[in-house]
Symmetry: C2
Subunit: 671 residues, 2 copies
C-alpha cells in the first residue's frame, strides 16, 4: 500500500526529506564530522514545532487532569535498572559477519534470508510477488541477487512457520536456525557468528572511581516509580492520581536507519496513572469520553493473521471486554483527542492491541496508537497496563513502602485461631531450639489449630512436628501455652500496591508523522508562473495553527524604509496577542516569500503595501487556500486571534472581511 | 558574612532544605536506593517553577530577539570534543588516599592543608581568625584538629604565595607541593598518591561495536557551533544573529556536595551570538539598555585582592573599557533584566569579571552574573566573548566553511606583482621537479618580484632558490614565463569567521538562588495561634506571580458538596484566563491550608464560603501581606489577571476592592 500526502497525492519521501533538511526542521547531528546514525538535531522550525507539541501535551494531560509533573535524571545507577529488569532483558540479539565485521540484528537477519528464499521460490514458480509493506521495526537491507530457486513444498512450510514465530526465538535458537539452514550473509557469502545479546542501554559510570556503574535511562518511567511514596504524600494520600514526565531517553540501537523513527536519543512524554486494582479500574471521567470512536485492531484479528480494523465507541469496547478496563479506555480516548488536536490525519490513526507474546509478562493489556507514514504503521504512543509490577519489584528490593494505606470506612473483622505461647517459660524450656520450635508452632495451618486446642484440653499437652529437633516430634506441655483459641481481629486499614496505566509518547515519532501527514504540493494556479519558469509544484505543510512553528508571516512589499514603522507596529501587536511572527523583508517577490513560508507551515501572512501606508489596511492570507482578505489593523488582529486559538475557521473570516485578490502575482518586490 | 532571608532575617539553611524536600521542590534522585551524589529530581512545584523560568527565558531572549533555537543531542562523538579541546582540557586533578581510598581534588586538598596550617599559626600567635566566606567551588571538608603551631615568618609567606597561585599549578606541581610540605590527609594521617588527571565528561560509547567513542556533552554550545553554516543560511546570510539551546548537560564532578549548586546532570540555556569582529562589536539595540545600572566587580579590583563593587551604567562601563564591547555589555544588561523579572533579589546580584588567568586563552572578556546565597556568591550565568575560537577549530578540522562571506558594497582593489608561468612549457621543462619549482616560484615574496621582473627583462632568465632540486638554484628561462608584472586584483567579497558572545545560564543554580532569596518566615499575628499550639513561625516563598508554580489556590470552607459547583466554575474561569490553579478541599483549617500554600509560593488564594453560595462573592488573599479583599466573580478574575500579568500590584487592588477581614482566623473547617 503506498502512502499519500494530505491531499491524496502520491507521496515522494526523498522530496519531503530534502525540503525538511533545507528548511532546517531537522538534520543529522555532527553532519560536518560525517554524522552519527540515529542522532538528529532539530533546527529552528523543528524546535518550535516540538516545543508547541510539548506545550499542548502539558496542557492536554498534565494541567487538564492535575497530574504531578516530575523531572528525574537520565543518569541511573545500574542497581535500579537491574531491579526493573532492564539490565537482563532490555536487549536485542546481534550477530557479526566474521569477514567484513558488519553487525546485524539476528532476528532481522534470519527473516531477511528466509523471505528472500521464499521470494526466489515464488519467482521460480512464476507467482507474482506483491511487495510487503515496509516495516521500519525490521530495518532490512535489500537482499542482493535473489535467485529464483524452487523449494520443496515442505521446506516452504518450514520457512513460513519459522517466520510466524520469529519473535519467539532466543539467541541460541536463532543461531541454530542460521546453522541448520546455512544462512550466508549475501554481502560476504559467509555464515555470521553466533548471536550474542546486546543490551540497548548506554553505559555511563558515575563518579571518579568505578564503583557506581550506571546507565542512561531507556524510559522516564522508573524515576517516577521511585518517587511514588513522596508523590502520594504530596497528593495528600488521595488515590487515584498520575505523575508525568517529559524528558530525553536513550537507546543504543544496533544500526538505526529510518530517520526520526528510530533514534538513539529521543524525547518522551510519559504518564504513570496509579489506580486501585480492586473494583475494575473504573475512571471518574470515563463518562465524558465514552462516545468517542476509535479505530481498533484487536489481538484476535491479528492472531488470525489479519489486519482488519473496527471503528468502535470506547464505551462499547470496554463494555464488551475488547479493552480491559475503563482507565485504559479513558486514556486511549484522550490520546485520540490529543492526536486530533495537533493535526494528525484521522484516517491515518489506529490503535493496535499487543498480542499475548508481545507484552511484558506482567502487563494486563497494551494498545499502541499507530500513525501511518511511508515507513508503514508506526507505534507513536504506547498505552499499557503495567499492573503492580514496577512498584512491587522496587519495594521488594529496597524495603520502601511503595503502596497505599487506606483507612477502611467499615472496619473488617476476621475470626481466626491463634496459638499464644508463654514467653517466660517457653524459651528456657527449649533453650537453643526455642526459636525453631516457636516458628514451627506459628507455622501450623489455621485449619489444624482447632484440633490442637481440643488435644491440649483433653491431654494437657500437644505434639508438634519440628524438623531437626530431637526425633522431629516435640511435645509441648500446657504450662508453656497461654491459649489456643478463636479470636477476632479487627482491620481498620487496607494496604495495596497500585496498578499503573502508562500512556507513553514518542514525541519525535509523532512530530515526524505530523510532517508527513500534513505535507502536500500544489500546482501554481498562476499562469505567469510557467513562463517565468518558477516552481510549478509548491510544497505546503498544513499544520493546524496551534502547533505551527510560526503563526504569522509579515511581508512588506519591499525592504524600503517607509514600511519599517508599520512592520514594527504589527509585530508588536502580535507579540502582545501572544502570537509568534516572523518578518521576511528580503528582496524576493511576495509570492516567493509566501511559498517559502508555506514550506515552514506558517498558516497566516500579512502584507504591508503602499495602501497600508495611506489607509492602515492590510491583507491577510490563508496558507491553505492562498485566499486573502483586506481590513484595518484591529479587524486583522481579531481575525488572527480567532484563527490561532481555533475559535474560527478561515471560511468564516472570508465571510466577515472583504476578499482581496491578485496581490501575490502582481506585487513583485520593488528595490 | 552571613546570609539573610528576603526580609533580612538570619537565614537557616537546614530549615529551608527540609521544607523544600517536604514540599517536593526537589529531592535526591534514587533516594530509596540510597541516593547518588550530585543527582536530584524535581517534584511538582520544582518542576513548575523550572518550566516557568524556562518559558520566561525563551520569551525574554529567543522570541524578543528572533534567535534561532536548536535542539542538539547530548551524545557527542569523541572527535568533536577532542577538537573543541574538552577531551584534553576539561579535567580536574584528583588524588587518592591510599589508606581509605577517598578521592579528593588535588588543588582543594593543598588549599585545605595550607589554610589549616596558617590558621594554626595565627592561633599560636593569638590572632583572632575571621571565618572566610564559604565558597562552594572549593568543596572543602572541615579540617579536623587544627593544631596551634607557630610557623616561621618565611614559611607563612611561602604558603601564602602558593595559595595565591593555586589555580596555576598543574598536577605534577601539586604533587610536588604535597611531597615537599609533607601534606598528610587529616582523615588517615597518610600522604595521598600522586595527582592524576580526571576528565569531567561522562564517557558513552555509541553503537554496538566500540568504534565510536563518545561523551555526554558538558555544554550545549558545541552542537550550536557545528550547525553554524546551516543557521547562517536559514537566516538568509544575514549577520549578526544568535542561536540558542535549552537542554541537559552532564559533568562527572569528583565529589559533589552543595545541593543544586554542583550537580552532575543539569539544565542549561545557552545563547551563541555571532558577530563581525570588525568595527568594535557594536550592538544595534545597545542604546535601549545603556542606562541600566549593574553592580560590577572588575578584574583590577580582584587582582588587588579586593571585592569592592561599583554600580555603573552599562553605557559608561563600555565607554570606559571596563566591559570590552557593546555586544557583551548589551547581554550583561539583558541578563540583569531577566534576573530581575524572575524575582532575583537585586541587592544579591553582582557581575564579576574573570581575571586573565581564569579565562580560556582564546576568550577576549568574560563576566559572571553571581547570585548571593548561603553558599556564597554563586556563578549562575557566564557571559563570555569566545572570539572566533570554536568556529575556527571545527572548520580547520572538518573543512566545513564555518564563516561568513559578505558582498562588499565598494569592491576593494589590490595592486600586486604576480608571476604567471607558461603552463604548457613549464611542466615538461622540469619534469618530476615541476611542482616543486612552481611552488618555490609562487612562494617568492611580493616585494622581491619587481627586482625579478627587471632581471628577466635584462637577462632573459631568472634564478630561483629551490631546495632539493639540483644544487638548490634553478634557472628559469624567458620562454617558460608569461609575465612578471603589477596587476590589479578586485575583491568583491569579504570572508570572516564571526566572533561569539556566549551568555550561558545554569538554570538549576538560578532556581536554587531564587528559592533562598525569596524565602522568609513570618510570625503568626493570630493571638489564638499560640494557645492552639499551631506553628508560630510560618514559612513563605514570595516568588513573583510570573514564576510561581501555581498562581491561585482555591479553598472551599469545607469539602461539603454544596461548594463543588462554585469550585468547578472558578477553576474553569481561571483555566480560560490561562492562570494555573489548585484546589485544596482537605479537612484542614483555612489558615493551615493557606500556610501550606505560602510554602509553595502560591501568590493568591480564593476562599469560597457560605456567603459565596448566596451572593456569588469571594475573598481574594495576597500571600505576602495576608490581606484580603472581597468582590464578585468578574472583579476577582480581573484582579487576578492584572496581578498575574504584572500590570497591577496588590496595593492597587486593595484600593479598588473592599477589604475583607478576619476570615483566616475564624473560619476553621466545619466537617
Amino acid at each position: 500500500m503506498s502512502t499519500t500526502t494530505l491531499k491524496g497525492q502520491p507521496f515522494d519521501r526523498p522530496v519531503l526529506d530534502s525540503m525538511l533538511r533545507r528548511r532546517m526542521f531537522y538534520s543529522p547531528s555532527f553532519e560536518i564530522y560525517g554524522g552519527v546514525a540515529g542522532l538528529y538535531d532539530y533546527g529552528p522550525p523543528g524546535c518550535a514545532l516540538l516545543n508547541n507539541i510539548v506545550n499542548l501535551w502539558r496542557k492536554h494531560f498534565i494541567l487538564e487532569e492535575d497530574m504531578l509533573e516530575v523531572d528525574c535524571t537520565a543518569l541511573t545507577p545500574a542497581e535500579v535498572l537491574k531491579t526493573s529488569g532492564h539490565v537482563d532483558k532490555f536487549a536485542d540479539w546481534m550477530c557479526k559477519d566474521p569477514k567484513n565485521g558488519d553487525i546485524m540484528r539476528a532476528d532481522h537477519f534470519v527473516e531477511q534470508i528466509l523471505e528472500a528464499r521464499l521470494k526466489g521460490d515464488k519467482d521460480a514458480r512464476g507467482v507474482k510477488v506483491e511487495e510487503k509493506e515496509a516495516d521500519p521495526k525490521k530495518k532490512k537491507k535489500k537482499v542482493k541477487g535473489i535467485e529464483a530457486v524452487k523449494l520443496d513444498d515442505s521446506v516452504v512450510q518450514e520457512y513460513e512457520e519459522i517466520l510466524a514465530r520469529i519473535d519467539n526465538y532466543n539467541g541460541e535458537e536463532l543461531g541454530d536456525l542460521i546453522t541448520k539452514y546455512v544462512m550466508k550473509n549475501p554481502e560476504t557469502g559467509v555464515i555470521p557468528e553466533k548471536p550474542v545479546e546486546f543490551n540497548l542501554m548506554f553505559q555511563a559510570s558515575i563518579g571518579p572511581s568505578s564503583n557506581m556503574p550506571g546507565y542512561l535511562r531507556p524510559e522516564t518511567a522508573q524515576g517516577q516509580f521511585l518517587n511514588f511514596a513522596k508523590l502520594l504524600e504530596f497528593n495528600n494520600q488521595q488515590m487515584p492520581f498520575a505523575s508525568a514526565s517529559i524528558g530525553k531517553s536513550f537507546r543504543n540501537e544496533i544500526s538505526p536507519r529510518a530517520g526520526l523513527i528510530r533514534v538513539r536519543e529521543f524525547l518522551m512524554a510519559e504518564i504513570e496513572h496509579y489506580v486501585d486494582p480492586e473494583g475494575g479500574k473504573k475512571h471518574e471521567r470515563f463518562e465524558e469520553v465514552k462516545d468517542i470512536e476509535l479505530v481498533l485492531l484487536n489481538r484476535h484479528t491479528q492472531l488470525a493473521g489479519k489486519t482488519d480494523v473496527k471503528k468502535v465507541a470506547i464505551g462499547q469496547a470496554v463494555a464488551d471486554g475488547t479493552v480491559d478496563n475503563e482507565t485504559l479506555g479513558y486514556f486511549l480516548a484522550r490520546i485520540q483527542l490529543f492526536l486530533a488536536k495537533i493535526g494528525v490525519d484521522q484516517s491515518k490513526v489506529r490503535f493496535r492491541q499487543h498480542m499475548a507474546n508481545e507484552m511484558a509478562h506482567y502487563a494486563a493489556d497494551c494498545w499502541d496508537a499507530e500513525l501511518q507514514t511511508s515507513y508503514g504503521w508506526i507505534e507513536c504512543v504506547g498505552c499499557a497496563d503495567r499492573s503492580a509490577y514496577d512498584l512491587t519489584v522496587h519495594a521488594n528490593k529496597t524495603g520502601a513502602p511503595l503502596m497505599v494505606r487506606e483507612r477502611l470506612d467499615i472496619p473488617i473483622s476476621h475470626e481466626e485461631w491463634i496459638i499464644e505461647l508463654n514467653k517466660k517459660t517457653f524459651g528456657p524450656a527449649f533453650k537453643k531450639d526455642g526459636k525453631t520450635v516457636e516458628a514451627a508452632v506459628q507455622a501450623i495451618p489455621k485449619e489444624k489449630r482447632e484440633v490442637l486446642a481440643q488435644e491440649l484440653a483433653s491431654n494437657g499437652t500437644i505434639v508438634v512436628e519440628v524438623e531437626g529437633v530431637g526425633n522431629g516430634k516435640v511435645e509441648i506441655k500446657k504450662d508453656l501455652i497461654v491459649a489456643i483459641e478463636k479470636r477476632t481481629r479487627v482491620q481498620n486499614t487496607r494496604e495495596y500496591t497500585p496498578n499503573v496505566i502508562e500512556p507513553s509518547f514518542g514525541l519525535g515519532r509523532i512530530l515526524y508523522a505530523l510532517l508527513e501527514q500534513n505535507y502536500w504540493t500544489r500546482t501554481s494556479d498562476d499562469p505567469a508562473a510557467e513562463t517565468r519558469g518558477t516552481a510549478y509544484c509548491k510544497k505546503v505543510l498544513s499544520f493546524p495553527p496551534i502547533v505551527a512553528p510560526t503563526k504569522v508571516l509579515l511581508v512588506p512589499l519591499s525592504n524600503h524604509e517607509s514600511f519599517k514603522p508599520l512592520l514594527k507596529k504589527m509585530s508588536h501587536k502580535l507579540r502582545v496577542l501572544g502570537v509568534s511572527s516572523k518578518i521576511d523583508d528580503s528582496g524576493a517577490s511576495i509570492g516567493k516569500r509566501y511559498s517559502r513560508n508555506d514550506e515552514l507551515g506558517t498558516p497566516l501572512g500579512i502584507t504591508i503595501d503602499f495602501q497600508s501606508l495611506s489607509d492602515d489596511t492590510f491583507t491577510l492570507r490563508d496558507r491553505d487556500s492562498t485566499k486573502q482578505v483586506r481590513a484595518d489593523t484591529d479587524k486583522i488582529m481579531a481575525a488572527i486571534k480567532s484563527l490561532v486559538d481555533g475559535s474560527k475557521a478561515w471560511a468564516e473570516i472570508e465571510k466577515e472581511l472583504p476578499v482581496f485578490e491578485g496581490q501575490e502575482v502582481e506585487a513583485v518586490a520593488i528595490r
